[in-house]
């Protein structure tokens, strides 16, 4: 299969899956116990005229599939409907909050890639005490949930020592970065440890291979051997795991934003779930799904392109 055909096939699958996912997300409000009308009206007492007005506004009298189609067309035009509780456009709410989430995930990605790869390489190149301690710390770090670490960091660094702002997202570029530091560390922590483990075993695998021995016997310097023969091959699993981990960070952001009271998409989602504000839940989940799928798609395409030995579109597990 050529690269073009491979990309087209992946894109078609991507659009199809997103389409089905959008249908599932839209159906949410209708599979929930209770009528959608009651979610919109809430606990308020309402007159028949008000009910009729709401029905007309949300087109509750249309058949289900017609409503889905209208909603989908709206979404494609950037209209996610109106929030029930906040009475604002969901699209506006999402736009206002998407920057914080994007910055948080990007910041955490830089942290976990740099720290994880550095620790993994040191671990692989220095067996003994360095390797042993990194392995023990990594085992504990992987087991540390973000909400536990976030709680510890808020209590120790922010409240007791006053080094960092406790809550909120800050203003301006510098202010935002300072405010996002603790959340980003929290989000990146376990992922850095996981990537360190992957990097360590990938580098160790490559170090033991015959082509590395050959390169050494040809008199190449240790540095050149490492850079050109070990690291380049070890990059394949590192890139794959990095991509998948960024996807996981999107889910992790939901928790981290809530702990640190950041105004991101994740905290918006949690608030909307608590208030049963379905239009927001639908909009945010759809955005998260799309982001998650884009990252997985890019990862998929990248590692297939990086590794010329892999057949395009082949299942990496077989």
């Amino acid at each position: 299969m050529g690269v073009g055909a491979f990309l087209v096939r992946r894109l078609v699958g991507f659009v199809l899956t997103l389409f089905i996912a959008s249908f599932a997300v839209f159906s949410l409000m209708y599979i929930a116990p209770g009528s959608p009308l009651s979610f919109v009206l809430g606990p308020r007492t309402t007159s028949p005229a008000q009910i009729a007005a709401v029905k007309a506004r949300y087109h509750f009298d249309d058949p289900f599939l017609v409503r889905y189609w209208d909603w989908l067309i709206g979404v494609l035009h950037g209209d996610f409907g109106r929030s029930i509780v906040l009475n604002q456009n969901v699209a506006d709410l999402i736009t206002a909050r998407i920057t914080t989430t994007t910055l948080l995930v990007a910041y955490a990605t830089v942290l976990f890639v740099v720290v994880g790869v550095a620790l993994g390489i040191s671990s692989a190149l220095r067996p003994g005490v360095v390797d042993g301690s990194i392995t023990v710390v990594a085992t504990l770090a992987i087991a540390t949930p973000a909400f536990v670490l976030g709680t510890v960091l808020i209590t120790s660094l922010a409240v007791n020592l006053g080094w960092f702002p406790v809550f909120g997202a800050g203003t301006g570029v510098a202010g935002r970065l300072v405010h996002l530091t603790l959340p980003a560390v929290t989000l990146a922590f376990a992922s850095a440890a996981y990537l360190a483990r992957i990097t360590r075993s990938a580098v160790l695998d490559e170090l033991g291979r015959e082509h590395v021995e050959t390169a050494r016997s040809r008199g190449l310097s240790e540095q050149t051997v490492f850079r050109r023969h070990v690291l380049r091959n070890a990059l394949i699993p590192i890139v794959t795991v990095t991509g998948l981990t960024i996807g996981a960070l999107i889910a992790g952001a939901v928790i981290v934003e809530t702990i640190f009271a950041l105004d991101g998409l994740g905290s918006l989602l949690v608030e909307a779930i608590l208030k049963k504000d379905f239009p927001i839940v639908q909009g945010v989940v759809l955005i998260l799904v799309a982001a998650f799928m884009v990252i997985n798609l890019v990862t998929d395409v990248m590692y297939t392109l990086i590794d010329p030995r892999l057949e395009l579109g082949a299942d990496p597990n077989t």
Binding site: T17, L28, P33, I142, I255, L274, V289
Partner: protein, 292 residues
């Protein structure tokens, strides 16, 4: 690689008991992990007998008490005994994830084997459905379930179980496809065994190791995600004791200068998740070694 199992088995001339094989396979780290898991399991099972106090007994005259002979770990903001709450909290924190893994493993294995065995349209349809489910990170799936059916442990557990099912199904399908082409399956078919009998009595036992390793390795994730949902206030509901809930209430107490509850609950969560992860690692290392 540790090969102690082979000579032992040869000497006794009989396969070791399940417990014996477990001990021989796990190694030192795995054994420590197993002990931790057994301690938590014991605490969960024996909570009514070993907890010194009723975990919900409020004593407003004795809030945020320091550790003492009466209250070994002190009390929380409502004067409740922290040790008793930790012991009782092990129930939801331990049993919830076990149910998640149990349900996803049973359904995922069935889907995976059916998909590999029947093939064709069924395989394609299952693959498409799983693809859509893969598009949602596990915890977001569970949050959506909570949005639809309301907050609570049951909803969170079922939501997570559904979210984990495709991962099990994909792994089992791949292994079942490889297994299907082996001669023993053909031998069974020739004898006229029904498909169900071949799958359950012959195929499934050969996938047992893989399925077990996958299940144990996922337990740590399930603990983290379920506790996170409870931390957000969408899973286990207060005043029911739970470690995830304890971190949340502990965070509020921390902000007032009482970090004890968050510290204890956070520590036991990390220790338990590390134990499950180490256990998963040593099991999969062992399984990998025996396959080679």
């Amino acid at each position: 690689m540790d090969t102690s199992i082979a000579p032992t088995a040869a000497r006794t001339g009989a396969p070791l008991s399940l417990a014996g094989r477990l001990f021989a396979s796990l190694g030192k780290a795995g054994l420590i992990a197993l002990v931790v898991i057994l301690v938590v399991a014991f605490a969960a099972a024996a909570a009514p007998w070993i907890a010194p106090y009723d975990p919900q007994a409020i004593d407003l005259g004795n809030v945020f008490a320091a550790p003492s002979a009466q209250h070994l770990l002190g009390t929380d903001g409502l004067g409740r005994d922290l040790l008793s709450r930790l012991i009782w909290g092990s129930r939801t924190t331990f049993i919830g994830p076990l149910l998640v893994i149990l349900m996803s493993t049973v359904v995922g294995s069935a889907l995976g084997i059916a998909s590999a065995w029947v093939g064709g349209v069924v395989d394609g349809a299952i693959a498409r459905v799983l693809d859509v489910m893969f598009a949602l990170p596990g915890i977001v799936f569970a949050l959506v379930a909570v949005a639809v059916y309301g907050a609570g442990l049951t909803t969170a557990v079922i939501g997570l179980a559904i979210a984990y099912t495709p991962y099990v199904a994909r792994v089992v399908r791949g292994a079942a496809l490889r297994e299907r082409n082996l001669p023993y399956i053909a031998a069974c078919s020739v004898q006229g065994f029904s498909a169900l009998r071949i799958c359950v009595r012959h195929l499934l036992p050969n996938l047992r190791t893989l399925i077990t390793v996958q299940a144990v390795a996922s337990l740590g994730f399930a603990v983290v995600e379920l506790a996170a949902i409870s931390f957000l206030g969408l899973g286990v509901q207060p005043p029911t004791p739970d470690w995830g809930v304890s971190v949340a209430t502990g965070l509020q107490a921390s902000l007032q200068g009482h970090p004890a509850e968050a510290l204890y609950a956070g520590t036991v969560i990390v220790v338990m998740v590390a134990a499950f992860n180490v256990m998963g690692d040593s099991l999969s290392a062992r399984a990998g070694a025996s396959r080679r």
